[in-house]
Symmetry: C2
Subunit: 512 residues, 2 copies
Amino acid sequence: MQLLVQRVDIAGRGAFIHEEDARRLGVFDGDRLRVLYPETGKSTPIVVDITTSLLTPGTISLYNVTCTDLGLGDGDMVEVHTAIPPSSIRFIRKKMDNGRLTAEEVLTIVRDMVNEALSLNEITAFVTASYINGLDIDEVESLTRAMVETGEKIEFAGHPVVDKHSIGGVPGNKITLLVVPIIAAAGLTIPKTSSRAITGAGGTADLMEVLAPVNFTAEEVQMMTDRVGGVIVWGGSTNIAPADDLIIRVEYPFKIDERGQMIASVMAKKFAVGAEIVVIDIPVGPTTKVHTMQDARRLAQDFIEIGSRLGMQVECAVTYGDSPVGRAIGPNLEVAEALSVLEGAETPNSLIEKSVAVAGILLEMAGKAQRGEGEEVARSLLASGAALEKFREIIAIQGGKPDVRSSDIIPGAYQAEIPAPVSGYVVSLNNSGLVTVARIAGAPHDKGAGIYCNAKIGTQVRKGETIYTIYAESQELLNRALEEARRLYPVVVEGMLLDRIPQDSIELDRMD
Amino acid sequence: MQLLVQRVDIAGRGAFIHEEDARRLGVFDGDRLRVLYPETGKSTPIVVDITTSLLTPGTISLYNVTCTDLGLGDGDMVEVHTAIPPSSIRFIRKKMDNGRLTAEEVLTIVRDMVNEALSLNEITAFVTASYINGLDIDEVESLTRAMVETGEKIEFAGHPVVDKHSIGGVPGNKITLLVVPIIAAAGLTIPKTSSRAITGAGGTADLMEVLAPVNFTAEEVQMMTDRVGGVIVWGGSTNIAPADDLIIRVEYPFKIDERGQMIASVMAKKFAVGAEIVVIDIPVGPTTKVHTMQDARRLAQDFIEIGSRLGMQVECAVTYGDSPVGRAIGPNLEVAEALSVLEGAETPNSLIEKSVAVAGILLEMAGKAQRGEGEEVARSLLASGAALEKFREIIAIQGGKPDVRSSDIIPGAYQAEIPAPVSGYVVSLNNSGLVTVARIAGAPHDKGAGIYCNAKIGTQVRKGETIYTIYAESQELLNRALEEARRLYPVVVEGMLLDRIPQDSIELDRMD
């Protein structure tokens, strides 16, 4: 990609001062100053960076945003004084020293994170210390409440408010596109805020975006949900639990997801929308976040405990995470698959079963079905076309085309069918291999990119039969995805030599 | 203090790109891009920040320094590609998960720190993880070697090269001003790099600066030391162990000083100057870094072990850290006190005894004195005037006035004598209280600011007799220091009511 260079003043926080002034003030790199603009009477604390080369003694470089906040222009004079660090620094240090934080201390840290009184470095220290020393259940509760308190909340007219969340790690997990319309069709309120893929091939927000806009404010989410009973939007446009974004930002380079912070992150988003009934989907498998049933049960207990402390009814669904849900991976492919089920298709089985199972639990919890009958009620809402009808209302209210059909959603024009190298049973679908290949093919940005699994685990295939198909929106990305596929073998047929697939055995088709 | 606002492009690393381009590239906040300028063929990895407001899609904001490095100007086009994170990220994660790092892994982390391949956030995670999970002796050795390898080294003509270091925490510890000239006068080579005060009232570099410039390059340090046998300079101007500055930068807000990192920091600086014989001064006391004799011995063992692995002979002097060394605290006051001892004064006892003890150990280790006779040899180098003569050579070669006398160094003109509120024995000199008052009075920036302890522990005083004197360079700072002194009671006389000292009992004198 080519980009035009443009030198601009950048946003951010902090300031540069000359080393001489720093010594006069007695401050060091990372210390805080309070900058006061006497003309406007406005002041703000800033973290200083010290330089000897960028400016002359007697001057201060302030970022644009700070200047705008204080009403400052070039050449204005400001008063600066040393400022004491916020008390949250002391509480972060306490967590570094393996102390237990009180609710008050956690709230102070989270508030200072959101108010930008803490630098990203300092937030990193907090997250690292929490990751290493752990957060106990009281601290997780405090963190959840603090995240809610420092962000926006939504109140809905319809009750009960129900919600679902999957902790992730399984490709093709498009069940939200089925669960939300089923639940809303049952007359319940389900304001689903969802995420975009970070390391996956398509988050729920990426999928829904194929059908309708997903960027809405909290107020818009409230209005739309109250109108039709449900929405599927991107959580990032609301200001719900903004501290969570900061935590994710500093965890990101290290690919960590501290258990307590993860629970707080999920539960804060549910609590902020007033959810009363919640199901958490915990996929278990070697490539998901939770590797054993035992770990899943322990995690489920914590979710349920935090829910009960916050007055939410929480149940957890421990699900199979070894291979993709359904056959499609990547935005358009997944949306077409979900829509086809809403339209009445009876496959793929794994998608339908998981969707009605999760929806069924919610229906039972909300009293819309007897114990043990939730799944049947969900299935009939699907079969009757009520869920499809509701999904069209949701698409319409979010500004999409309600009359869209699954056959309208077409995958990328460049595709390659991967043949079975030997005859035998499919014994393994490697989640991370499939996601890597789908991402290299362009997903989630290229909505048409992805993978369709022609065979799933246990399928008997003959040599030369297609086991999966890669889709892309350009020949170049398709070629790159193919190279990676040859290296990763994301689908394994029993007895197949784990050797290079000969290049001439792969057919490259151009669809149109 | 008033400063002129000036909006400037700032230095640093990283780049801003628009969210749309970030999604197209598949990168998130904190991910890395490689930016290539085809015209010059130069490229560099950068960490991206994502924005929706600062620029339009298709553009990239690069910091000045990056532009200069690549030869870029406004309006030039660059190629950007996603870049994989450096492998040091993985090793930092390993330390977060309480793994033991190999020498190779530690070197990779330290090299990436110095090369700016790691962001300050990522360095914070490493330092926090090392602080919490600790570094074992092998890791400390690796860290020491890595710090040396990634910085400048100095080789001296004269041998053996000897060095001393105090791990700090005791006010008034000006012994380096005596030890260096004594050792150099004995014909040994002692290239002393020292620090400025961070939380103290005067680091050795702040003191020496009263007499001569202290900012020199490594090459200048080498030349000056080879000429006169010793120097006392600020370590920050050399590029010895630059990784240490980064570690200190991120530790600073939390006032932590991880034991392994502290040992590596000290030993790397000694190893980089080729020190063969080293004494480490470990002050023990309630307000120093080491609180018990047992902790001091354990720390000493680690210093000795790392020294032996690096081929350095190390001994440790565990010293009394409960109250100040000598009577003076603050640059001018301390320098005058040290100079007066070199000129032949026989007090203060604690300063002379500690200086000849440390110098004596070095003389014995270097074979300049028999075991048990080092202190005597040190004392005679002091008494003969040889140390004073050598100190004058050092001052001269660093560009100061060699004929300076202790009486030339005068304290701040604004001073207040604090009277004993009752008659009795002085029972406590509170280190941190004394330092706080000295700093509020202006030390170490205002060279004349500080405290002179007229009475020390065990001194019998009568009510109204001066127990200590505060010096400042302005009435305002003197007043502020007095207020703090009334609150902190840094000197306690037995039987004294820990109540406010009545304001009219304090005499405010203007000296000139």
